[in-house]
C-alpha cells in the first residue's frame, strides 16, 4: 500500500509572496527627545548618550543618539488623522483586547493560505546606525522568507518571515527587523 504524501502548504501562490513588499511609509512626526525620554525610562536604560548633550558630543557619534530599535515602535504610532481606534474597538466589541483593528500603513497583503493559527517563531534585529533627534523615519515591510516544515504528525505548516527596514531622510539604513510566525 502506498502512502499518500500530505498536500503541501507551500503552494505556488504562497511561494509567490516571497519578496512582495508593502508601500514605503514615512512615519508620522520625527524622532523626538520626549518620546525617547519615555522610552528609555520604560526600558530602564540610563545611558547619558541619550540625554547629556555635552557628553554626547564627546562620543564617537558627536551628538545625542537614540536607542537601537526605538524607531520600530515610534514608526507604528497611530497617526492623528486615524481617528480614535481604541474607542472604535470597544464600540465594535465591548470585550476588545484593546488593540482592535487598527489599520497600519504599509501592511503586507495576507499570505494566501488556509492555515489560520498564528504562533510567534522568533525575531531578528540588525543594527547599522543610531537614529538622531529630528530624523524622519521611513520603513518598508516585505516577506523575506516562507518555508514549509512538517509537524510531528506529518502535517505541513509554514514559517513566514516578515522583514522591515527602517531608514532616515538621508537614506541611511538604521536597522532591519525580522519577525517569523508559524502558521498552522
Amino acid at each position: 500500500m502506498t502512502q499518500q504524501a500530505p498536500p503541501t502548504a507551500l503552494t505556488p501562490e504562497v511561494q509567490a509572496m516571497v519578496g512582495v513588499s508593502g508601500d514605503v511609509v514615512e512615519s508620522w512626526g520625527v524622532v523626538d527627545a520626549e518620546y525617547m525620554r519615555r522610552f528609555t525610562q520604560a526600558l530602564m536604560d540610563p545611558d547619558p548618550r541619550y540625554w547629556d548633550d555635552e557628553f554626547a558630543k564627546s562620543t564617537r557619534y558627536g551628538e545625542i543618539i537614540t536607542p537601537p530599535i526605538m524607531v520600530s515602535y515610534l514608526a507604528s504610532r497611530i497617526r492623528p488623522d486615524q481617528g480614535d481606534p481604541i474607542t472604535a474597538a470597544f464600540e465594535e466589541n465591548p470585550e476588545s483586547d484593546g488593540i482592535g483593528s487598527v489599520e497600519r500603513p504599509g501592511e503586507l497583503p495576507p499570505v494566501p493560505t488556509n492555515l489560520v493559527r498564528v504562533l510567534n517563531a522568533g525575531n531578528e534585529i540588525e543594527l547599522y546606525a543610531y537614529p538622531s533627534i529630528g530624523d524622519t523615519i521611513f520603513f518598508q515591510n516585505r516577506y523575506s522568507d516562507i518555508r514549509e516544515r512538517l509537524g510531528r504528525d506529518g502535517t505541513p505548516f509554514l514559517i513566514i518571515t516578515r522583514e522591515t527596514r527602517f531608514w532616515n531622510q538621508n537614506d541611511v539604513t538604521l536597522c532591519i527587523t525580522r519577525a517569523s510566525t508559524i502558521r498552522r
Binding site: R49, P67, D97, N120, L127
Partner: protein
C-alpha cells in the same frame, strides 16, 4: 568579575537581585572599552537583573503605545485570556537585548545583530536575569567579531528568550569600527 549564571540560579530571588550589574548613567559614561583580544570563549557577560512590577509594565505599554490589555488589565488577563497574571511584554524583552549588547560593546564597539525566540510567560514577581556567554570569536576586515549565546532567565532557570548575537569589538591595534556600521561583504 560577573557572577556565573549557574551560581545565580542556585540563589534565592533576593540574593540574585543584590547581584544586579545593570550600570547607572555614570557607569555607562565611564565605560572602558573591551577589546577583541580581552575576550575568550566561555566568558560570561554582566548580568542585568529586573524585577518588573505592574507599574513597570504599564509604563512600557504607555511608552510604546501598546494597548493590549493582557499587559495591564489583570481581570482581562485572568478571565478572558486565562493567563496566570498580566504578562511582561515581548517587545520590552527584545528591546533589552540590544541595550545589553550596546552597553557591553561601548564606547566604540557595535551591537550588530541578535536572534531570539519568545518562550514562557513572564509575570510581575518574577526576577529576570539578562545574560550572555561568548561562544566563539573571529577577526575579519580588521574587526573583532564575537558570537554570543544570550537569553533572559527567570529565577527558577526558565529560559524565556533563547537566542544568539553577534557583536563587533575593536582590535587593540586596529582601526575604528566603521559608523554607520558596514558588515563584511560576505556576512
Amino acid at each position: 568579575m560577573t557572577t556565573l549564571l549557574d551560581d545565580l540560579l542556585n540563589m534565592e530571588a533576593e540574593e540574585i537581585w543584590k547581584l544586579n550589574e545593570r550600570p547607572d548613567a555614570d557607569g555607562l559614561r565611564d565605560k572602558e572599552q573591551i577589546y577583541y583580544e580581552d575576550v575568550n570563549e566561555g566568558d560570561e557577560l554582566p548580568k542585568y537583573i529586573y524585577k518588573p512590577t505592574p507599574t513597570h509594565l504599564f509604563r512600557w505599554s504607555a511608552a510604546i503605545e501598546n494597548f493590549h490589555r493582557i499587559h495591564y488589565d489583570l481581570d482581562f488577563g485572568l478571565n478572558h485570556d486565562r493567563n496566570p497574571s498580566i504578562l511582561v511584554h515581548g517587545s520590552w524583552k527584545q528591546s533589552v537585548a540590544p541595550q545589553y549588547l550596546k552597553d557591553w560593546t561601548l564606547p566604540n564597539g557595535w551591537p550588530w545583530k541578535a536572534r531570539f525566540e519568545h518562550r514562557a510567560m513572564l509575570v510581575p514577581g518574577d526576577v529576570l536575569i539578562m545574560w550572555g556567554r561568548v561562544t566563539s570569536k573571529y577577526e575579519k576586515n580588521q574587526m573583532g567579531f564575537i558570537e554570543l549565546e544570550i537569553g533572559m532567565k527567570t529565577q527558577d532557570g526558565i529560559e524565556s528568550m533563547p537566542g544568539t548575537a553577534t557583536v563587533v569589538l575593536p582590535l587593540r591595534d586596529g582601526p575604528p569600527i566603521p559608523y554607520p556600521f558596514v558588515p563584511p561583504a560576505d556576512d
